[in-house]
Structure formats: structure tokens, C-alpha cells
Amino acid sequence: MAKPKLAVWKFASCDGCQLSLLDMEDELLAIAGRVEIAHFIEASRAVVRGPYDVSLVEGSITTPGDAERIREVRDSSEVLVTIGACATSGGIQALRNFGDVEEFARMVYAKPEYIATLDRSTAIADHVAVDLELRGCPIDRRQLLEVITALLAGRRPNIPTVSVCQECKRRGTPCVMVTKGEPCLGPVTHAGCGAICPAYGRGCYGCFGPMETPNTESLTRWVGERGMGRRELKLVFRTFNANAPAFREESERQESGR
């Protein structure tokens, strides 16, 4: 039986999520024995033509050319998995969505006319159908391994959709909000990292994006009562998942003063 063909695609991103595949030092060669790595430019010159059984897509859509390219990737892929905050929400570069991209280009480049860019950074799912999303900035490589293993076995991957709070409790970390009054996005943030930040004594900063139906209003009220102003609260939700709807709406609510 032919091995399933795996492809890895990059859009606007830092390369960190696809690096997670190469960071599976114990499993990489075993995976390469089970799948044909057919398109993975960061790791190989050899490119095998599609169609592909599984495509992992990193990065967000920020240029007219990329908006076209993602359609070609979708057309050549049986299963399309987006990996990381850029692909699932637009990433940190989606901060342009709240500003003026021409102004941004003028700040960085002397000749902004050479730069082809869209005025918004958007998630892959805003452009094409996505079969599965892996959250995180960066993704957790154990979750990536679970996705690859599950797809090879033909079962659904076990990717919890609960909050970071639940992982934190399971880890036995004392709550940083309760014990230190530290602002923490754990109650509204999608699980998957293993609740690293609280274990290091800092509040969660939401790099896995919003959980399902997060109560951001309740959280911001709690934090606001302990002294954080609206301008700072706005910034708290405007980081690596700024364009994820629940975080975007909360930051806009803080900005408008509602």
C-alpha cells in the first residue's frame, strides 16, 4: 500500500509551528517511515506533486498571491489541518487589522510601493474549508503528534477544547489569580499548552486563543476591579490571537468603553 502523502505549507508566519514537526526528535524518522513527506520546503528540496492526503498549513493570509495559493493547496489536499495561531486566527500580524496598513508599511519601509500586502491578516478558514485546527503560538508538538497518529490510524484526534484553567488544576499549580492577584487569561483560553505560564508564576497570555464560548466579560470585570485599566485590558486581548472573534470582540468592547 502506498504511504499517505504529507505536505507542509507556509504562509505569513515565523516557521515555529512547522519547526514543531522537526522538533519531534524521537519520532521524526518513524513518522517519515509511515508517511511520504511529499512537500516540506523547509526540510527538503524534493517536491512530489499532489494530490496530498494531509496538508499541514502554517501562517496567515496577508498578500493577494497567498489568497490564491491557499485555494490551490485546498484543491490538492484531502485533509487540510491548520497549525498555529497565524493559520487559525491571523496571528500577531493581524494587529494591522486594527490600524492602517499603509501607515505600517511607511513606518518599516522607505519605499512602501515595493510592498504587496493586504490590509488585513486573516485565518486560513476565512478563505477555504478547514478540516481540523491546531491552536497555539506555537502549537504543542504532542498535539501535532496526536493529529498525525490519529490520521494514520483513521480515528478522530483527541484535542480537548476546555480551558487552560482545567490543565492548570490537573497540573496542581496554585491559581496565580487567587494567590497573587495576577491577571490570567487561563479561564478563557483554549487548552493545549499544558498550562505552562502559571507553572512559571505568570498569568496565561492567551497564546492558544479563545476556548469555546469564553466568558471574557466576567474575567475582565474581575481584573478591572483589581486595577487594570481599559487600555491595558484591550492590549491583553490584542496579541497572538487578536483577530480570533471572541478576543477581537472583547478588545473592541474595552476600546469603546461599553
Binding site: G16, D23, A43
Partner: protein, 431 residues
């Protein structure tokens, strides 16, 4: 065979971090144009940092690069701490150096084994190489993992660590927590020594260039996270003087800016530069390994950068062990760093070379202006220069072979295109 008119092009350079292309055009055996096209989409970090809190750049700028996030965190911290006039106690500085060693090991092992070695041995990828050289690739992966274990323990995770803050760390590890790391690193040091011997046996094209090498230098250590910026042609400046000496220009074919030294031109940053300028500060074990590998005090053949990278990997393992051995838990994991209106500059040695940051902060602690110059944009003009000189005497090679060799020449620099835009397809046009 005549080559009156010829073009080579690679539309998507493989085994580099990020997206780039290469284009070479020749006419009558003379190279007319060499371009590294960087088409990685721009992400505008310097723009959206404006208005953010002064405490945020370590977390935000880490996201410029998934391969060297610690470099971004360290340059950002240094710049902002200098702006605020905060002195970082020695134990915290040493812990940062240990974290940085982890990134050097991880990034160098990735480049040596997975990205560059396949060029020397004639494979398309390390995964293909593993079919014939399984134990060697396994060794490389485990070496890389050793670096990642440092990052995970001290940083919280390998990619975009969470434990670094302005003033120090959120939490400092205990001596007992570091102990298992030392056992792993003792193995890694042996593996790194084997790595130096392995890559020293590769065949290298005869290609020596007279570079201006630019690196950090510190009187007491092989500079990584602190020091002055120096060159082999007399540059010796404080980090704050960087922009007076380095000019960045924009070219139409790149979303990365090109850096040059004022009135002097291109220069090289990275392992060859560090080795040339600071090689005598390497540990005895690393110096012996370099000598055994046939490296002289200065290496001007960029293809041998893989050997120097291996020597630096060995050094980073050795140094990490030394730092763990002498580790004193800091009294507090961080020092206070209240905001004030100020400007600060930071520069540290990312695995690919010096990485410069500047921030202007207002009295409320908001970022008023940010400037970031990554190593790949500093090396980009030098890479094009190398390609021009490398291609001309080799125009008798067939297109696919010449293209392959040009890609290898580009990978000598371990270019990180994600960083540079904040790189590559090869195209050779022979006309």
C-alpha cells in the same frame, strides 16, 4: 558548450527558514545580476510595537522567528533594560547565557544535520540521508533535542519560551532541577565532538573570500549576550552606535532590508565572524576540536561554516555544563524595572549573527518607536556577493548542478528569511 546567455533560477529555496528565491543572470560568461529574492510576506513588527507596553517586546518579537526566539528575547531585554538603566545581577545574566546556549545547540544542530549536511553528501533532505546514515541523523536529532531540553526547562517551552521578562525571569530553576540536564549535556558534548569530526571530513569547494567579519566581543567570555560590536577591520563600537555605522536600504526584490557598513560595504555576521574575532575565548575542548578539524585561527571559506558551527555547538554544550556546575540560584528571579522616558539599544549573537534592537519608551512605559535589524538582512548583501564570485568560475557546470551548488552557498549563511522580513527559489538566467 557555449553559455552566451544563461539564467538560473530557483523559485522556492529549500532547507532554509522562510520563503525566498534565487536569481542569477549571466552574459558571455560574466555574471550580470545576482538576486536573493525575499518574498516572505512583510509582518510589520516595528509598526505594531508602537503603543505596546515596554514589558511586551520579549514576548512579541520572539514571534519574528520560531528558530531563534531566545535571540529576540535577549536583544529586546538588553535594549529595554539599558533604556531603563537597570543593572541585571550576574546570576541572572548567567542563567540567560545558559538559556541562549540551548538555542545555539538547537539551531546549529538543526542547520548542520537537517539543512546543510545533505548538500555535502548529495541528498535532498536529512530524511533521505537517514536511509543511508541512520545513526548519524539520529545523533543529530538527539543533539538538537539536548538544546531544546535546556529551552524547555529554563524557558518553559522550546519555541517561544514564556519565562523571560524585562529584569530577568518569572521563575529561576533550582540546582536540583538542573542536574538531569547536566547528564544529558555530558552526552551531547560527546555527540558534538563527533559532529565536528564528521563535518570536518566533508569536501569543501576552494572558495576563500576577504570578509569584513562583524561580531560582539566581551573581554571575559565568548560573546553571546553582551559586549561591544567589533570587526577585523577596526570597527569597535558600543551597541548604541550601531545605526551610525550600519545603513539599511530597501531593494525592490526583497521584503527584507539590506544592511551595509557606512562607506565600507558588505560584511559577514555569524559563526565565521565570531570564530575569527573571538576564537581564542572558546573552551580548551572546542579549540582542540577546531585545530583537529583543520581550522586555522581565521576561516575565510564560507563552505566551512558548517565546521565552525559544529565547533560552536561543542562550545555551547561545554559552556552550558560549566554554567550548570557553577549555578547559584538568584535571590530573586528578576529585578524591578520601572518605566521612564528613554531610548535603549540591544545587540546579542543570534545563532546566525548579531541581532540589533532599539526602543524608544515614553514616560508611561509605552513603546514610541522600535527598530530591529536581524542577522539575515545584514548578511543578505554578502550572500549575493558570494554568489557572484562563486558562480563565475563555475559557469561550465550544467544548470542543475550549478543551481544545487548555489543553494549550498546560500545555506552557508543559515539564512533565516522569516527573520529577514520581518528567503529562497534559485533562478539563473544565462544570456
Amino acid at each position: 558548450m557555449t553559455h552566451s546567455s544563461r539564467a538560473l533560477s530557483v523559485a522556492a529555496l529549500a532547507r532554509v527558514e522562510g520563503e525566498g528565491a534565487m536569481f542569477v543572470r549571466t552574459r558571455d560568461g560574466v555574471v550580470e545580476e545576482v538576486r536573493l529574492d525575499i518574498y516572505e510576506p512583510p509582518r510589520f513588527f516595528e509598526a505594531f510595537l508602537r503603543g505596546r507596553r515596554y514589558t511586551e517586546p520579549p514576548d512579541i518579537t520572539a514571534r519574528i522567528c520560531g528558530i531563534c526566539p531566545v535571540a529576540y528575547q535577549m536583544s529586546a531585554c538588553q535594549a529595554i533594560e539599558r533604556a531603563l538603566g537597570v543593572e541585571i545581577p550576574e546570576p541572572i545574566q548567567l542563567l540567560r547565557r545558559l538559556l541562549y546556549c540551548g538555542e545555539w545547540i538547537e539551531s546549529h544542530a538543526l542547520h548542520i544535520y537537517l539543512l546543510h549536511a545533505p548538500d555535502f553528501l548529495g541528498y535532498e533532505s536529512a530524511i533521505e540521508m537517514a536511509k543511508d546514515h541512520g545513526p548519524i541523523v539520529e545523533r543529530g536529532l538527539q543533539l538538537k533535542k539536548s538544546g531544546n531540553e535546556i529551552l524547555e526547562l529554563i524557558g518553559g517551552r522550546a519555541i517561544h519560551p514564556i519565562n523571560v521578562k524585562i529584569g530577568g525571569f518569572f521563575r529561576a530553576p533550582t540546582r536540583a532541577e538542573l542536574r538531569p540536564l547536566a547528564e544529558r549535556l555530558a552526552w551531547a558534548r560527546d555527540a558534538a565532538l563527533e559532529t565536528v569530526r564528521w563535518v570536518a571530513g566533508f569536501e569543501f569547494p576552494d572558495f576563500e573570500q576577504d570578509y569584513e567579519f562583524v561580531a560582539m566581543r566581551h573581554p571575559e567570555e565568548y560573546a553571546i549576550a553582551r559586549g561591544r560590536i567589533v570587526s577585523n577591520r577596526g570597527l569597535d563600537i558600543d551597541v548604541a552606535e550601531f545605526e551610525e555605522h550600519v545603513v539599511e536600504t530597501q531593494v525592490p526584490h526583497s521584503t527584507a532590508l539590506h544592511a551595509r557598513l557606512v562607506e565600507r560595504g558588505t560584511y559577514m555576521a555569524g559563526p565565521l565572524a565570531r570564530y575569527a574575532l573571538n576564537g581564542e575565548q572558546l573552551s580548551p575542548l572546542a579549540r582542540e576540536a577546531a585545530a583537529e578539524a583543520g581550522l586555522e585561527a581565521v576561516c575565510r571559506n564560507p563552505f566551512r561554516s558548517i565546521v565552525v558551527r559544529a565547533v560552536e555547538t561543542l562550545y555551547a554544550c561545554d559552556e552550558a555544563l560549566r554554567l550548570i556546575e557553577g549555578y547559584d540560584e538568584p535571590d530573586r528571579p528578576s529585578v524591578d524595572a520601572p518605566p521612564r522616558a528613554s531610548v535603549g539599544h540591544g545587540c546579542t549573537e543570534a545563532p546566525r549573527g548579531i541581532l540589533y534592537h532599539r526602543y524608544a519608551i515614553d514616560e508611561e512605559g509605552l513603546i514610541a518607536e522600535a527598530r530591529i535589524t536581524p542577522p539575515t538582512s545584514q548578511n543578505q548583501a554578502q550572500i549575493e556577493d558570494d554568489l557572484r564570485r562563486f558562480v563565475e568560475p563555475r559557469l561550465d557546470l550544467p544548470d542543475d548542478e550549478l543551481t544545487r551548488r548555489c543553494e549550498q552557498a546560500i545555506r552557508n549563511y543559515d539564512p533565516c528569511i522569516s527573520c529577514a522580513t520581518h528567503f529562497l527559489d534559485l533562478k539563473v538566467v544565462r544570456a
